[in-house]
Subunit: 87 residues, 2 copies
């Protein structure tokens, strides 16, 4: 077993309301950042786990997203990076 | 002015307590993901903004992190990607 470090992005599904992103956009405008057009706020999750190889680590991370880390109704997730291991 | 899309990661500073990461680690263990060693939970923020060029877009994003998006006492931020524009 090798230690892997999987980075995940969990983001509000496009087309759904993103009240946190809207609030940040408004706050940035108030602070003088007039060039800001839109902001989306999601979660950046880094999971360190032991796995046989890189595909296995990614597969486990996807299962974690489906079962706990992302809300399947309102959020999308993507594997941003898998680090560690030899291959 | 060109439209750019800057992706930011805001993460709890290493060495500080990360109670959300600890809670997710415990929940994953409870769900049977025994191979999980550690989890860190931060924010993934995507800012769409107009800027003259790519360095200007990145500079503005750093200013936003320093002024609003990241807590300078407990969090670190990094620019994960800058998309858009020609150069």
């Amino acid at each position: 077993m090798t230690r892997f470090r999987v980075s995940l992005h969990v983001t509000p599904r496009r087309g759904l309301l993103d009240p946190q992103g809207k609030a940040v956009t408004d706050a940035l405008h108030t602070l003088g950042f007039a060039a800001v057009r839109d902001v989306h706020v999601g979660r950046h999750i880094v999971v360190e786990l032991d796995a046989a190889d890189r595909p296995a680590a990614e597969r486990e991370a996807r299962r974690m997203c489906a079962k706990l880390l992302a809300n399947p109704v309102t959020e999308d997730f993507e594997i941003a990076a898998v680090e560690g291991g030899a291959a």
